[in-house]
Symmetry: C2
Subunit: 567 residues, 2 copies
């Protein structure tokens, strides 16, 4: 038997990873990558930071950790992998186990034989079916060419106003990059809020922060058309008729898997539009595997098939596919819990598992949540606030998801939470977690544990919580609620909610109970800066006979309406 022929279609993330893994497991296999673009192994998640000028050497996006550009020569010399770049795979002949391809610059065609094939064709940016997308100034940030274009715009400094269509992860990252570069940016999102991997109240905190940086966020409003003159973009028209003058528009409404090749070859495609694979990353043809943004994977919590086009997962999947093409199906990719994180100006927003919103959408009926505001480390170490929301299943007490937003260290909390969700931790498992504590890194009780404590108190019926959003709704409806702020007088002077609240500092509450509603069934909503004192106040009130006391979770610091009021 001659050496095995491993062919990989796609040279961005999953493809090179699969090829390299295959090579390491079989020094004598023939490994070939067919890559449509000119570049290989592009760090596409780094594009917003290149565009924004965090670094200036474009080669850093396509080089190895030691600074060698990962071109065909690199792949040949270091890995003995043949990388055919600027080469498009046009058809897969499964019968003959051949890939037909064409070298794009010359039009030359060729056929590559395989024993095992890995499809890693990635995804493409979604483009809305509206007028004007062809105008100069309308772009995406999907390819390295896009990044080059936007970087040039940044460096030229001519464009004054830009619009981001879509307030997802990439949209927000690009908003930061260009706003920091001196272009006045507006993010337009069709949904009620941006960053839909977060629940509304956390996304709102982030939107407020973006607006504090003089960028604009418009929600509940889609883009109706791109308007131009002489082929150049001049404005974006929104669905409500508003026109936003701009010279640049970046479409960032998501991606869809590139499955044309797979579909034409007769491979099974899933309901979400991605190539169907099993946990071995094997397609419906046992000689063909697929990995990366072109596949559907299993959500480990819900068991459902999902699209999860993320660079880290692409790498993990590529590694599994690369192993299985050599060793047979021994490596598994168990799926995703849809962990995500992004930096937006001084804020970080992260989430893992299910949001409350997602849980409701999926039909979970028995959900309980807790939201806390904490410092990421002690005040004397310059601790910065983060808001953490934990979603659990009431019956099983399993933690289904955690979100975290703030200027403090969100990354650590979401990394730890991701393993808790993956490990199917219950609230009890988190309550006494032994996390690394020292003042430069956390408070004695980490925010994850604090949030689990609140969740446990709610589960035990010791605390009744109410979200800031529900409080706001009550205020707007004019509900008959007694709002009680138990902070200090000085704190109240600096900042207050202005919702008709009564101030009784916690330290005086026991002496001033007579100032509270005589009707012990009247709803009382109590809070403080972060609602720890709020919780203590609720304990006092309940012990004294008030039967309808709710703590506003996260406290004043979680209240995202200040901006609206001042605006």
């Amino acid at each position: 038997m001659g050496s095995r022929r491993i062919v990989v279609i796609g040279g961005a993330a999953a493809g090179p990873k699969a090829a390299a893994r295959a090579r390491r497991l079989d020094e004598f296999a023939e490994v070939t990558i067919i890559q449509k673009e000119a570049d290989l192994s592009m760090a596409s998640c780094g594009y917003p930071y290149y565009v924004g000028g965090v670094f200036h050497d474009r080669n850093q996006l396509i080089c190895s950790p030691t600074g060698v550009v990962r071109d065909s020569n690199f792949f040949k010399a270091a890995k003995n992998i043949t990388a055919l770049v600027s080469t498009e795979a046009t058809a897969i002949d499964r019968e003959k186990r051949q890939v037909h391809c064409v070298h794009l610059p010359t039009g030359e065609t060729r056929t590559v034989n395989y024993d095992k094939l890995v499809i890693a064709t990635g995804a493409q940016a979604l483009i809305p079916p509206i007028a004007g997308t062809e105008l100069k100034g309308v772009t995406t940030l999907h390819s390295l060419k896009d990044a080059d274009y936007l970087r040039r715009i940044r460096d030229e400094g001519v464009v004054k106003e830009g619009v981001i269509v879509g307030g997802g992860l990439i949209g927000m990252e690009v908003c930061e990059a260009l706003q920091q570069s001196g272009i006045h940016m507006t993010v337009v999102e069709m949904m009620p809020h941006t960053l839909t991997f977060l629940d509304w109240e956390l996304a709102s905190m982030l939107e407020k922060h973006v607006q504090s940086k003089a960028a604009r966020v418009i929600t509940h409003n889609g883009v109706a058309a791109f308007i131009g003159r002489d082929g150049e973009l001049t404005a974006v028209r929104l669905q409500d008729g508003t026109e936003l003058p701009c010279q640049l528009a970046i479409i960032a409404i998501g991606v869809k898997p590139n499955v044309t090749l797979a579909r034409q070859a007769g491979l099974a495609i899933g309901e979400r539009g991605g190539i169907l694979v099993d946990e071995y990353m094997q397609t419906s043809d046992s000689n063909i595997y697929a990995a990366g943004d072109c596949v559907e994977v299993r959500n480990r919590i819900t068991g459902q098939s999902v699209l999860a086009p993320l660079g880290d997962l692409a790498n993990l999947q590529g590694r599994v596919a690369g192993q299985n093409v050599i060793e047979g199906n021994c490596a598994r990719f168990p799926g995703t819990i849809q962990t995500g994180i992004c930096k937006v100006f001084d804020y970080t927003a992260g989430a893992t598992g299910l949001s409350e919103q997602a849980a409701h959408r999926l039909g979970y009926t028995d959900i309980i949540t807790a939201t806390t505001t904490t410092l990421d480390k002690p005040g004397f170490m310059g601790g910065k606030p983060i808001i953490t929301k934990m979603v659990a299943h009431r019956d099983s007490r399993q933690i289904l998801g955690v979100q975290c937003v703030g200027i403090g260290d969100v990354s650590r909390r979401i990394a730890a939470a991701a393993l808790a969700v993956q490990g199917r931790f219950t609230v009890e498992d988190m309550i006494n977690a032994d996390l690394p504590y020292a003042p430069p890194f956390s408070q004695a009780i980490d925010s994850l544990i604090t949030t689990a404590h609140v969740l446990e108190n709610k589960l035990a019926g010791r605390m009744k919580g109410i979200s800031v959003m529900d409080v706001k709704n009550k205020v707007d409806r004019g509900d008959d609620v007694f709002f009680l702020d138990v902070r200090g007088k000085d704190e109240f002077e600096v900042m207050r909610l202005g919702i008709g609240e009564t101030l009784i500092p916690l330290g005086m509450l026991r002496q001033r109970l007579h100032e509270l509603p005589a009707d012990k069934d009247r709803e009382i909503i109590v809070y403080c800066k972060i609602s720890l004192r709020g919780y203590e106040a609720a304990c006092i009130l309940e012990a004294n006979g008030w039967r309808n006391v709710n703590v506003m979770e996260g406290g004043v610091l979680a209240w995202p309406y200040a901006m609206e009021k001042s605006g």
Copy 2:
């Protein structure tokens, strides 16, 4: 029935936490704290940072998050807790359920009745039984008074030389604090290396870093005596006879639980010298609970009873005790996995679970480890190196411990690893973990996952690794080994190990195999900067018939001997 009487002895961390939790669960209980010192709720883990001038307002060590000093008035007003400060509990009468105590400033005695008692008497600094400990200039950093003393020394700027006795967590933190304040510090450690929660090679990296900051680390050498003149410290004499001139010596060799009161009351004391409690934090007397540094707790991995005097655990235990004195035994403290972290100059060192050393000491015979050097985030985002070591059980593949050291973000990795160890993750569970990825926070494949990948490769026999320590031993013994560096020529020019190695860049290895030993059984040790290319080289060599190829784990960046060589 009258209101319940809850008495807590100890007002530092576990005590106030227990008292506050009890109050929240029963508004009408009588809750009393008996505190020997004048202060309450001291953030003692913050002392090194106050001493070092990270912040200047001493009140920050004893105030609530909103800046109110937590004195007796605060406890009374905010929590309706009576805090008897400067009051020492002298005896517990279990029969009558009374605590006898004395107000230290006045000598006045009193008796406090309890229904349930919580002992949170903490620990005291160990003092070695050697001459001179009474000299002026010899201190510990255990109490707020100690912190005040050291802060004064820092501010006065008179002391030029200081010695830390004991290279543990606190010793290293204080070393940083005072060295940064302009005092030339020397850390003296009796064991072969400092920070014994780390394995040797990781601790060595840290020692090297400390020395690069002009502080000194002396290991394998204890302190024999403190030497003075006119009652003032002038030098420290080491066991090997060396004398280190100094005006300040800080003893930081650990703590022992304060159990006199408990022992005299006839409560069971454990083998490690701490008060014995069950998972409810209940002592051998069902009316008495204990929490914090004075108790022994269960190590969740080994099942053994251990001392784990850490502020975060004290808080968690206090919460459990405070709940159980009110609600009966419903809350549990499951134990510790002995997670720890500390900042030492620009480095962070963290560990969770068992080190290799600890596993061997405990008799685990079937241990496998992997060590990697990675960047915490991509190079283009300014990623900084961290060295990660994972310890697993070979048979069950369970991850028993993770250590991490470096200037990058160690905190996130240890927080996540702690939950993996707690959750009894196997190596496979970590391999495809869905951690939060974005360039500002991590590489596409997080260092924890990279390390699990290496561990899996080793478990599967795909890679044979050797630690830098074992390589160094071979070099020192003059073993007949062929050392192969597969980095680029330019990298080699900048920094090389100088152990008789041969340089063949990976990209040329396949063409230059004839330069390798003709004897295919000769041991070859191969490495690169981080040993990823080293692993690829090993794959090539093995495929070409060499049978004894080992990869030096962590690569050149994990090699801690450069300092020794240049020194």
